[in-house]
């Protein structure tokens, strides 16, 4: 209905036994939005990402991606709408070389395995694209290494490379800066700032420097609910948010 919306959540909830990890979240991301999702540990941010990406089924509510209701679609179908994500704990194909990891992401982006079957010429083009991504993310030296042998920072970069390989319209990153060194953080920030302006970004990040540098709006969650939403300045200065973060993020 609204073709400027990338992602719309309505009353999205998820229950784990007796715990309502995500509790009636509404969110609206217009095309090209850069949204930070903040909140203390256990607020339900990762669970929300899992709901958006389809890794977990909804308990209730609905999710619309680029105008299409995807609430009931499995995760792999949502990718076709242009959704890509990374994981808080790096999930890479540890037994496969880095280049193959990226190529697999490209295969997925090109419409899945069935399209990839003929192989041949297309696989060379794919390899070139993988190399370009690797250069961009500083992985080029490691192309032949098994992904499992990468350093922590390397795995984070690979995560990002795999997500970007999908040429997403909506990119959801779950704490991409966690465990990175200051220089790696700077690289990450630069990369995020260079993203295509049409792309919508939902970024979970505890590091305010990274989060506020690349986003123009903020949603704050606590105990599964959205407790504040607004511009970075408003939200960061609000009492509520400072209370929430006292003893968690700064403690």
């Amino acid at each position: 209905m609204n073709d400027t919306a990338s992602l719309t959540l309505r009353g999205v909830s998820r229950r784990f036994g007796g715990l309502l990890a995500v509790d009636g979240v509404d969110m609206h991301l217009p095309r090209g939005a850069r949204r930070a999702l903040l909140g203390p540990n256990g607020a339900g941010k990762t669970t929300l990402v899992n709901l958006i990406s389809g890794a977990l089924p909804l308990t209730s509510g609905s999710i619309t991606l680029f105008g299409a209701d995807v609430s009931r679609e499995p995760g792999r179908r949502r990718v076709r709408h242009g959704l890509a994500r990374t994981y808080q704990q790096s999930k890479v194909f540890s037994g496969l070389p880095v280049e193959t990891n990226i190529e697999l992401a490209l295969i997925g982006a090109d419409g899945g395995l069935w399209r990839a079957l003929p192989g041949g010429r297309r696989s060379r083009a794919r390899h070139e694209r993988a190399c370009r991504l690797a250069v961009e993310l500083g992985l080029v030296e490691q192309m032949g290494k098994p992904a499992g042998a990468l350093s922590h920072g390397g795995k984070r970069q690979l995560e990002l490379a795999m997500a970007l390989a999908c040429e997403p319209r909506l990119l959801v990153l779950d704490e991409p800066a966690a465990g990175l060194s200051p220089s790696e953080r700077q690289m990450l920030t630069d990369l995020l700032l260079r993203l295509d302006p049409d792309l919508t970004l939902l970024l979970i990040e505890h590091d305010m420097n990274v989060a506020l540098a690349v986003t123009d709006s903020v949603t704050v969650m606590a105990d599964g609910r959205v407790v504040a939403e607004g511009t970075p300045e408003d939200v960061v200065s609000s009492r509520l948010v400072q209370d929430l973060y006292l003893g968690t993020a700064h403690g």
Binding site: S13, L20, S60
Partner: protein, 325 residues
């Protein structure tokens, strides 16, 4: 707060499909029951009793299997061999002493020792990798099969039933074997004993906590290796017990090990891995299905049992009591 009032669940295919299938299954079972009851009530009752006594035997075998899996995460693929070894040892004891109960106890202890020995030597060496541990147990099953063949030969043997259980019992014109009822009683007794152990003792609490979350064991301050060995020994003991019971009610022969391994697998796959209540449900389902299949489709009884397992798996990938995915 709005979330508390859940929206119509039918929007979510996973839930509704399961419900529809369960309802359909329930109706089918009910319809079949009514039909059988009307057609031949006596046959029906006998078949149900057959199914339940078979279930008792299956429970004896499978509860040990599921207990071991629950705590050690080892699928003991030699469990069928433990059953067979128990039966053979029981046979020899019965022949030597003439006392069936002595044979039962002796065989159970012997198999428990065999299991313990294996766990303490080989499994400990493998250390922690469930996949490799399971692969090692299959090697043991070959050795045990070969050894039992060497000692007891290839022809089938019967353990003589104690005389006072050898006859039949008659209630309202229904005739039924005393021994089979006693077998059911034994299963109930063992089940009750397990329940007491798991729910009424400190050791049992530890075991249950470990089944839920293996990490808890390590941090609970108990002697973990000891508890693991105890459970492996207990699981083996049950297999030995079942071997004597089963060898008295059916007979013992080479190949029975594979049969009871399959039974254990089916029971835990149907009932859910690692849980004793799951083993109860699984044995009753498998036992009843098999009893009815034997009456109506004797040639295909294995097929029918298997088909039921597949249908259940399609609805509940982790078994009836295995928890949601």
């Amino acid at each position: 707060m709005a979330v508390g009032a859940a929206p119509p669940t039918s929007r979510f295919p996973a839930v509704s499909r399961g419900r529809v299938l369960w309802t359909a299954g329930g109706i089918a079972v009910l319809a079949l029951t009514v039909r059988e009851l009307v057609a031949a009530p006596a046959v029906f009752v006998t078949t149900v009793l057959d199914g339940l006594t078979t279930a008792g035997l299956y429970f004896l075998v499978a509860s040990g299997f599921t207990l071991i899996f629950g705590l050690l995460r080892v699928t003991n693929l030699a469990h069928g061999s433990f059953y067979l070894a128990g039966g053979y040892v029981g046979y020899s004891l019965r022949e030597a002493t003439g006392n069936w109960f002595l044979a039962l106890a002796g065989a159970a202890v012997a198999v428990a020792l065999l299991g313990l020995l294996f766990q303490l030597t080989v499994l400990r060496l493998v250390g922690g990798d469930p996949l490799r541990e399971s692969l090692v147990t299959i090697g043991l099953s070959v050795v045990v099969a070969d050894m039992t063949l060497a000692v007891w030969g290839g022809s089938s043997l019967d353990i003589t039933i104690p005389p006072f259980l050898g006859s039949t019992i008659e209630v309202h014109g229904l005739i039924y074997s005393r021994f089979r009822l006693a077998l059911l009683g034994l299963a109930l007794l063992v089940g009750f004993g397990l329940w007491v152990l798991l729910h009424r003792t400190r050791l049992g609490m530890t075991i249950r906590a470990g089944v839920d979350d293996p990490l808890i064991l390590a941090t609970s301050g108990v002697n973990v290796p000891l508890v693991l060995s105890f459970v492996f020994g207990l699981g083996s003991l049950m297999a030995g017990l079942a071997g004597v019971a089963g060898g008295s009610y059916l007979s013992l022969s080479q190949g029975e090990d594979a049969r009871y391994l399959l039974v254990s697998l089916l029971v835990v796959i149907v009932g859910g891995l690692g849980s004793v209540p799951g083993a109860v449900v699984g044995s009753v389902v498998v036992g009843l299905v098999q009893a009815f299949a034997q009456v109506h489709l004797p040639t295909y009884s294995v097929l029918v049992t298997f088909g039921v397992m597949i249908v259940i798996l399609a609805v509940r990938p982790r078994g009836v009591l295995g928890g949601a995915e």
